[in-house]
């Protein structure tokens, strides 16, 4: 009877030692070759010449533990074995070798099937299942490691796309009114996963400029004009700072009334020809930014205002009338 007590005591001591030192933490000789020896896996991931060889190593280690696994887990053993066989089959699609596998792939017998389950839980509650769990987890880690270069490639692609889109819409590209954004969204491929467009449509784009008419020398005049680019398109060149484009233009001023014509854009500056009436020659429309090009050392808007104020009585009339 006493011998039986001692025997029981020894069993309890061994059991407590095993549970006090989880196998995945290392330091327990019983588990140095365990499928879930993370230190070993980490070293293998770094040193393994190829993923198939690493999978082969995981498979060999797993099969050496299969004999320890309880029969009730046979279904899980088959899952893990099938997975490892698939991974090592050269006919398997390449992508399959990276697919993440999780504990959910397994059938748990009596363990609460919720999110708190860990390797520790499995080891504590169903030690016989731990090797199966471990095999899938190591495959998962190996697959993740092998997927890293692809992830890096994806990161570079997403970042490049983001930087281009930011340059287009927030920094260097021609600013768009909300309705222009909507038109571009419809006409261009602006899906977030697609490359950033190198072109842009103009639609009902209001602007201010100067209309230079020169029918005869004595009738030459320059008047401020509100214009609308009805529809047009620009193309970006090397970067979103440089573009050129054309648009259908309409304008209206106090002297000549409404007109229609074409405008040309080049790197933020634009000019166009507008026909106001059949009996008058076409006038030159100059965007205010093009005017400012020649006064780039000063505030263009302020200069333009001064210029307009000094121009002609008709201009002053327009301004005071508006007030």
């Amino acid at each position: 009877m006493n011998r039986l007590k001692y025997l029981l005591l020894i069993v309890v001591l061994i059991g407590s030692k095993a549970s006090a030192s989880p196998f995945w933490c290392g330091g327990d000789d019983r588990f140095t070759d365990h499928p879930l020896d993370y230190d070993k896996i980490g070293a293998e991931l770094k040193s393994s010449p190829s993923l198939p060889e690493l999978y082969q190593s995981i498979r060999t280690r797993f099969l050496s533990h299969v004999t320890d696994i309880d029969k009730q887990f046979e279904e899980n053993v088959l899952i893990a074995r099938g997975l490892l066989d698939d991974l090592l089959d050269p006919r398997s699609p390449v992508f399959l070798r990276h697919v993440p596998f999780r504990w959910r792939d397994l059938k748990f017998h009596g363990i609460a099937n919720d999110c708190t389950i860990t390797a520790e839980t499995v080891q504590a509650q169903k030690p016989g299942l731990a090797a199966v769990y471990a095999a899938l987890e190591t495959v998962n880690l190996a697959g993740r490691q092998a997927n890293l270069p692809d992830i890096d490639g994806s990161v570079a692609a997403i970042r490049g796309n983001w930087e281009e889109t930011r340059a287009w819409l927030l920094e260097d590209g021609l600013p768009q009114w909300p309705w222009e954004m909507k038109v571009n969204e419809k006409l261009l491929d602006t899906d977030p996963g697609s490359p950033t467009p190198r072109t842009q449509y103009l639609f009902l784009r209001p602007s201010l400029g100067l209309n230079l008419s020169y029918p005869r020398q004595e009738d030459a005049d320059i008047v401020p004009t509100g214009a609308l680019e009805v529809f047009g398109r620009i193309w970006y060149r090397d970067s979103y700072k440089k573009h050129w484009g054309i648009a259908l233009l309409t304008d209206i001023d106090s002297d000549n009334g409404a007109g229609i014509g074409f405008s040309f854009r080049w790197n933020g500056y634009w000019a166009g020809f507008v026909q106001h009436a059949d009996d008058r020659p076409a006038s030159l429309y100059v965007g205010i930014d093009l005017y400012g090009l020649f006064h780039s050392d000063a505030d263009r808007s302020a200069l333009a205002n001064e210029f307009i104020d000094d121009l002609s009585p008709s201009v002053k009339g327009l301004r005071s009338g508006a007030d």
Binding site: P93, R102, C115, I151
Partner: protein
């Protein structure tokens, strides 16, 4: 155990760096409570890293661009009044630096309106979120391959998270490797066709499968990469998400291997709603439709009242029903079965009888007065949201 990462995506409004500090404090304090109870000396920061993913700067910049455009038309007084007033109404970005300025009329509508109605603005938002998220994923995985990732979206941030995750997981970002993969598949299939024993039908099938699978599987696609969990707090996906129908997107739990269901992007999908939060109740997501395999899509409804702002993220996270899922999925090494049981007991009021100070009262803070809580119930959301639902 690796230090996992939880991405935080904010809702409507201005959110500078550190916007989630209060929520993080709530989580840290609650986590500490469980660790103390279990006799563990672990802090939340040991096992979980929070990464804020801001996007409201995009809206600020868009308003600023429009403001500049309208300013250019200001040379002739009186002409562009309509445009100016429109921009002023939507947000005077140039003076206040805020996307909605001080204009209360559109205080809560401007961002959502922009995001929902303009695909180019959405593109900016999503690419910024995806760019930062993917960069962190690559960096942390390179440091420790075991690192797991989770996403927590709040309010409008749920729609942003939904769209960003769907695009991230369904786009083939590495076109170059795709081309190489397709070429390889083609070569192999040609070889199979030309061999004497080659089975034509099988080879054709493999060819098609190979092309299709390769197109769907790039480094961060749902087949190659998985998030640990996705939390949608005060979910607005059904109202604001644009890139895919929430019931058909990959923002859902991963189905069983071999299942023919829609690919999922996470192990766990957790949808959290407050019964008195109108935002969470309008066009509420039916989580049951994502629940494959059963038990992996959780629908959590809370009703606690600790603050007048029941919509606030930190207020949601106070509830053990909510934070137990965050801890359980993102810190499984520390927050195990015992801690989960304790969280359940805290909420189930079993601790009340024991006189335990840890008992989670459903009412507290500013709403300890039950009369106030009762009045609030009368005004809340059920009728209001039903009405809005009909209008939508």
């Amino acid at each position: 155990m690796a230090r996992n990462v939880l991405f935080l995506i904010h809702g409507i409004g201005n959110h500078g760096p550190g916007w989630s500090e209060k929520s993080q404090q709530v989580l840290s304090a609650e986590f500490e409570r469980y660790m103390m109870h279990a006799g563990k000396n672990v802090s939340l920061s040991d096992s979980l890293e929070f990464v804020e993913l801001p996007y409201n700067g995009i809206f600020v910049n868009i308003w600023k661009r429009w403001s500049e455009l309208s300013t250019r038309l200001d040379l002739l007084d009186g002409q562009p009044q309509f445009l100016e007033q429109t921009v002023d109404l939507l947000g005077d970005a140039s003076t206040s630096g805020s996307q909605i300025g001080n204009n209360r009329k559109v205080d809560y509508a401007g961002d959502a309106l922009l995001y929902r109605s303009l695909g180019l603005v959405r593109r900016l938002v999503l690419l910024q979120i995806m760019s930062e998220m993917a960069g962190i994923i690559a960096d942390r995985m390179a440091s420790d391959i075991r690192t797991e990732f989770g996403v927590l979206g709040h309010s409008m941030g749920t729609a942003v998270a939904h769209d960003a995750l769907h695009i991230l997981g369904t786009t083939n970002w590495t076109q170059q490797s795709w081309d190489a993969g397709v070429s390889k598949t083609l070569t192999e299939s040609e070889a199979a066709l030309s061999s004497p024993s080659g089975n034509l039908r099988r080879a054709e099938k493999e060819l098609l499968d190979g092309v299709e699978q390769k197109a769907r599987f790039s480094g961060l696609s749902a087949g190659m990469f998985q998030f640990k969990s996705i939390f949608m707090v005060a979910n607005t996906c059904r109202s604001l998400a644009c890139e895919s129908d929430p019931y058909r997107s990959i923002v859902r739990p991963r189905p069983h291997p071999g299942s023919h269901g829609i690919a999922g992007f996470a192990d766990w999908f957790v949808n959290v709603s407050h019964v008195y939060d109108p935002v969470a109740q309008i066009r509420k997501l039916d989580t049951a439709r994502l629940n494959d395999p059963p038990g992996s899509a959780l629908d959590i409804n809370v009703s606690h009242l600790y603050s007048d702002d029941v919509h606030a993220l930190d207020h949601y996270l106070l509830n053990p029903k909510v934070h137990r899922e965050v801890f359980g999925t993102m810190c499984p090494g520390s927050f195990g079965i015992a801690e989960r049981d304790y969280a359940n007991r805290r909420f189930d009021e079993q601790l009340e009888a024991e006189g335990n100070p840890d008992y989670f009262k459903r009412r507290g803070g500013d709403f300890s007065d039950t009369a106030v809580a009762s009045r609030m119930r009368e005004f809340t959301t059920k009728h209001f949201s039903d009405l809005l639902e009909k209008l939508v």
